[in-house]
Symmetry: C2
Amino acid sequence: MRKRQSNRRNRSDRPVRVAGSITQSAWSPVTYATPPTAFLSADAVEAIHDTALHILEEIGMKVLSTDARTRFKAAGFTVNDSTEMVRFDRQGIEQAIATAPSSFPLHARNPERNLEIGGNNAVFSATGGPVYCMDLENGRRRGTYDEMCNFIRLVQSLNILHQEGGGGFEALDLPAETRHLDLLYAQATLLDKNWMPWNIGARQTMDCLEMAAIMLETDLEGLREKPIFTGVINTNSPLQLDIPMAEGLITLAEYGQAAVITPFTLSGAMAPVTLAGALAQQHAEAMASIALTQIVRPGAPVVYGGFTSNVDMKTGSPAFGTPEYVQAAQASGQLARHLNLPFRSSNVTTANTSDAQAAYESMMSLWGAMSGGANLIMHAAGWLGGGLTASFEKLILDAEMLQMMAAYNKPMEVDREALAMDAVRDVGPAGHYFGTAHTLARYESAFYSPLVSNWDNFDAWQQAGSTTAEQRANTIWKQLLAEYEQPPIDPGLDEALRAYRDRRKIEIPGRTA
Amino acid sequence: MRKRQSNRRNRSDRPVRVAGSITQSAWSPVTYATPPTAFLSADAVEAIHDTALHILEEIGMKVLSTDARTRFKAAGFTVNDSTEMVRFDRQGIEQAIATAPSSFPLHARNPERNLEIGGNNAVFSATGGPVYCMDLENGRRRGTYDEMCNFIRLVQSLNILHQEGGGGFEALDLPAETRHLDLLYAQATLLDKNWMPWNIGARQTMDCLEMAAIMLETDLEGLREKPIFTGVINTNSPLQLDIPMAEGLITLAEYGQAAVITPFTLSGAMAPVTLAGALAQQHAEAMASIALTQIVRPGAPVVYGGFTSNVDMKTGSPAFGTPEYVQAAQASGQLARHLNLPFRSSNVTTANTSDAQAAYESMMSLWGAMSGGANLIMHAAGWLGGGLTASFEKLILDAEMLQMMAAYNKPMEVDREALAMDAVRDVGPAGHYFGTAHTLARYESAFYSPLVSNWDNFDAWQQAGSTTAEQRANTIWKQLLAEYEQPPIDPGLDEALRAYRDRRKIEIPGRTA
């Protein structure tokens, strides 16, 4: 079952050339080379933390789920069932959060693809959640299951992506009630990496857990000791936790899976127009929800998610990859570390096509996330148009940006050999380093090798068709798809996954053919 | 003479809307919000510095200029006139460098546009040096004087650019021998910002100084106390300083102007294939050249330039905006600060068109430069195709990226008002912040306002023509050009500049009509 294609599993630093054509980086964990940027002073972090505690103490959160309110009450917090408000004393909330681990493992079908969330690690997760899909030939459209499977195949093929993000986009040709089952089957069989569940509400989250247990050849009990899921839990900012999100959170925590608590605090809309205010509100919503995971199961893995950005004040729609987004990402990293928790950020853009804007906004987001020390970078590849679209070309362009960020984070060797005094002496003034022994011994793996970037001079580039990066990305994803090989899976396992999917499709009421 | 258009000179943080259409950031100095990233450990910095001193001590620099060698000899360094080699003892070189200032002012025709190079400041300088110009309609071509003047006009119009960079591209319709005089006249009259000279050799540098003196209504003596120039001096890596560069350096230093010492150390070609080795060589070449500025005139302003990047090992051509470039920029910043000197870096890309690659490579360079604490960022706007091309669209796209980086570096307010506890209480759970008093009082200037980025939703973007950022940049530069107003200049001053230009054109031999 674990027989592997050696060409996709190269663990060295040398770039991998797949089938003689596409060069990509080898699979590799990413560890930060430098400490995160402290955009805020320690006093400012403390002031935001303190304001968040004030918010929870004086105002509280509206918690629509009776189950969640009951659990908060049992934990000693002040619950008003008629207003559905829960208020939190600062000692209680800080105590509840304290049991959350600062890092935790995530399992994959292929144990060589297991991940560690936290510490100095960055995990790159592909986009998930967009409604539409898009490519250069067919433009933006409602995606099908076949197209979604192709997106998943590409995520499997791109070594730089550590985690699949939830299907890329929705398979809108499938019935809404059972769509998640088809996605789960695709994730469990087309990937051998870790993947994100589509967990809305308790029942859907249970389906995710059941199929993950089958895939890892364990049971729900075993899954508790073998976390596999980072499931996103959004608060309904400001200061509200709805029933499906609360149910999802409780189910994830019960089964030892990681909730990625992500307040949707757009400054100027669902949060104050000042970033400090938006961050205080984000921090309050995050702390209340993180506390709930620990009340359900002390020690349950949990991630502090920061998604604070600003709206375009002319239209009220969200803007991403903005300077404010970078500040918020760095500050959110500081707030997460203040709670000793892993930090989630994202690679986001408002651009509607894979042009220069998409690239510079993504780069702003990515630098913000990574200089902010993000441990889980969601939507790291493929996100377009403010998150309504998953783009096949953007997936490839983002993979290039991620590969560059990973390469940047490899430490520089500064030993006697690398300092190259002998080579400098040998070459001498006005000489040349091509062809020297020092160069020949190192040139094959000395530098980053690009995936999409064209480094030809103008004439060569023109003769080859004056392609844009978007056009080259189009060629690359098609070739990767043509070369995709499904990771081997035991036929019995495949059968068990299919059986669960099919049985649940019959059980789920209201489904249409 | 200093009558100003108030709409271009807004000093507040509020974005400036020029003539009802194009919104751009106001003119403003940029100060870093966070300390630079220390990519290398203190030990690694010391090891590179020490290797560089070894190189200078044991190998030395080949100095082709007799004048320069004579000056080095007089300063006590070991000169061999038959091999043209100069060797430097470590105490002597460190002593010579010590007189260079850690920061210095740069003057402009409009004193409100004066700059400070060093400290925590970043100065954005437009591209200069490319052979070709390029725009969306006409593609890449040899540029004319008229087109060059248009490029300069745009640099004047874009508030985010603190400094003009040397004409953008060459006016290839003008005779080579006197082309610099026409450029100087254009710079002195079309701009009221600081600009960079085109200084190759002593005589051309003198022309730059003479015309600058006229422009600042002073003389060569007065210019010594009023630095105006950052003139680029490239070493001929490895380890050589040629005659025109040495002459330019000596003339700049004699007249109290700043040489921007920039070794052209492409790792794998003119420098070792290992980055640490390339940096050691860069550092050696920089220290020797910086020492020469101080031998000529102790206290002369000087900038430590880092240009280390890697070559594409498949073709030998330079690659820019690579992960290695980012590491080298951050490390070079550390080496410059080790000498207590201002640091110059650049915004560079290998891309041949203003696409996603151009944007993500530029963003890599810019983040590298700015996280590396660069005080002077050359080619900050307009550079394309590895520096052979200046692009009108890239100029605008880069201006957007620079505006974003400047906005990111504005400190976040974290006081009682910004923390917004009262607003959070007023809005309450599941409320909305649009239209609240806290929002209304701040929304106009709360967030960064983009120049090129389109934040419309997909349908609105599609209805408006599905434009790319490159297409919008094309519209913007044409509109800026149509709205350009020449900064007022005293007619007598204009006449004096023209007279110098015309007289020198007659004096310079070998010119063709």
